[in-house]
């Protein structure tokens, strides 16, 4: 090969073809899908919480894409039914995630609906799970000598309580928890919903 122009043109042509297949094709197909019935847009507080979720980098340990029962026991763990494309129409940026250092969170709002539980867990995960390797987020909380009006005090087992005063959630923590509580994709997916069904034929015949 001794010419630059054809090299560049063909190389870019191949990339264009790949973009067509991997970006434009799926986009056309997915955009034609209506949101999953029952899927609600995020509230203002949930959106603020979602920004926290993104900013803290939760996605690097938590996926939001339960797999189908034909592939993995995600549903049995309470992580919810297999996610479909129309579950994500309000998600920007997407937070599908590719790690499960922690559990999947796509339905954490139904699996762990308690605000107070989440506050405890965010403040110090090892107050609940001794084996947990999730970081605590003490900077989303503050210590006060006593709770003021409207303050949300974090319930803590005795060994994790401060020597004096109380731990109070900052608004960012409350927003983040509101987002987590709102994560609920348990409504059944439409039959024609889009997802990777590549494992479906390995399931046992019903």
């Amino acid at each position: 090969m001794n010419r630059i122009l054809p090299l560049g043109v063909i190389a870019l042509g191949i990339l264009a073809f790949a973009t067509l297949m991997l970006v434009i094709g799926p986009a056309i197909q997915i955009k034609s899908m209506a949101p999953t019935p029952g899927l609600a847009n995020y509230s203002a507080q949930e959106l603020r919480g979602r920004e926290q979720y993104v900013a803290q980098g939760c996605v690097y340990c938590h996926s939001q894409q339960p797999r189908s029962a034909d592939q993995a026991p995600d549903a049995e763990r309470g992580w919810g039914r297999a996610a479909v494309a129309s579950d994500y129409v309000y998600d920007r940026p997407h937070q599908l995630g590719t790690m499960r250092t922690g559990p999947d969170l796509f339905n954490v709002g139904t699996r762990l609906p308690s605000r107070d539980w989440h506050l405890t867990h965010l403040y110090q995960p090892r107050a609940i799970f001794a084996w947990s390797i999730m970081p605590g987020y003490p900077y989303l909380f503050e210590r006060k000598s006593r709770a003021g009006p409207g303050d949300v005090v974090v319930s803590l087992p005795a060994e994790h309580r401060p020597a004096e005063g109380v731990i109070v959630a900052k608004p960012a923590a409350l927003d983040l928890v509101a987002y987590l509580q709102g994560l609920d994709h348990t409504n059944p997916a439409p039959a024609r919903a889009v997802r990777d069904d590549g494992y479906s034929e390995r399931g046992e015949p019903r």
């Binding site: 034929e201 390995r202 046992e204 015949p205």
Partner: protein, 336 residues
């Protein structure tokens, strides 16, 4: 050659180097080919070409009790009048007090002792019973037809003396017809007159040291009471429907029932109890528990004409507590 080396040193290698290069080339291709082969095989597996997709992953475990006969399943009941009779028979079998209420004097059903609707091996399955009658029985010293045998069940196990009619169904009653149709259907394909594996209750050798109701109480409290209640009266759900059958007392089988004999009860217990954990007790435990249960008072033996002692002599040899004195009281008086 060596003089040329300067010139073509870049392109020409020594044979040894050539060999190393060839080996690596082959190695790389073999590695790639092997990996590609793995890919292909794995994909073939994915596509189901390498396994039988039609067969669901069942029977991974060997059947708990190895027996040679498998009765037909629920869905195989035929349509039509015969099928209706089978279903009626099944309903009587499963819910005897409800569906043959005129002839039942306690709270038991056939299926309490003949588990899985009379299917389960080693719990006196009906498919094995069907092909064993008519037969001579020592109990009444005559040839028994199947109807006679069922009548015996009503008389003793179902304590018919306490039923609204005061006795077992009269000869030729529909209850017999329906039950026999059900049993006949369960025995579809069973060999007549051949001793079948899993028939009856297993016969347990009596332990060397005998059996002991006091030890049996310990076994009972540890293993049985959670379901049958520490008072042996079974348990009901919130609507009052019986879930666990009573083992003694007025709502259980009477002194004439086969289950009132310690050896029979021991065999049943060993093979089937606790439910879902058959054969988990030792023989000794099974005998002791059976002794404890069968040394409790229960409805009187309908065969008793004179005294308990007379009846004990006539009808209660072997491993029975009938007529014996336990805890200062002679057993066999019956319950109210």
């Amino acid at each position: 050659m060596i003089d040329d080396d300067r010139i073509s040193a870049e392109a020409q290698d020594s044979p040894k180097q050539e060999g190393a290069g060839r080996a690596v080339r082959r190695g790389v291709i073999a590695l790639g080919g092997g990996a590609a082969l793995f890919v292909l095989v794995s994909m073939a597996f994915d596509l189901g070409w390498l396994r039988d997709r039609g067969e669901p992953v069942k029977n991974r475990e060997a059947p708990q009790a190895m027996h040679t006969f498998f009765p037909p399943g629920e869905q195989a009941i035929p349509d039509g009048p015969a099928g209706d009779a089978i279903k009626r028979g099944q309903a009587i079998f499963m819910n005897t007090r409800m569906n043959a209420k005129d002839f039942v004097g306690n709270h038991l059903s056939c299926s309490n002792c003949h588990l899985d609707g009379g299917r389960k091996a080693d719990s006196a399955p009906m498919w094995a019973a069907w092909v064993s009658y008519p037969a001579y029985r020592k109990k009444n010293k005559q040839i028994n037809t199947m109807e006679d045998r069922i009548k015996g069940c009503f008389t003793y196990s179902m304590n018919a003396q306490n039923s609204p009619t005061g006795g077992a169904p009269p000869a030729g009653h529909d209850v017999y017809k329906d039950l026999q149709t059900y049993m006949h259907w369960l025995a579809t394909g069973a060999p007549t007159g051949k001793k079948m594996l899993g028939a009856g209750y297993p016969e347990l050798d009596k332990p060397a040291g005998g059996y002991d109701p006091a030890r049996g109480k310990l076994v009972y409290d540890a293993k049985c009471a959670v379901c049958h209640g520490s008072d042996g009266q079974g348990q009901r759900d919130l609507n009052g429907r019986l879930v666990f059958p009573p083992l003694w007392g007025p709502d259980s089988y009477n002194w004439g029932a086969g289950m009132a004999r310690v050896n029979t009860a021991a065999g049943f217990i060993k093979a089937n109890m606790p439910l879902g954990q058959g054969n988990s007790l030792t023989d000794q435990q099974a005998w002791d528990a059976a002794a404890f249960i069968d040394s409790q008072e229960r409805p009187r033996d309908p065969r008793q004409k004179g005294s308990i002692a007379d009846n004990a002599k006539a009808n209660h040899g072997g491993d029975s507590y009938y007529g014996k004195v336990v805890g200062g009281r002679q057993l066999g008086a019956g319950t109210k």
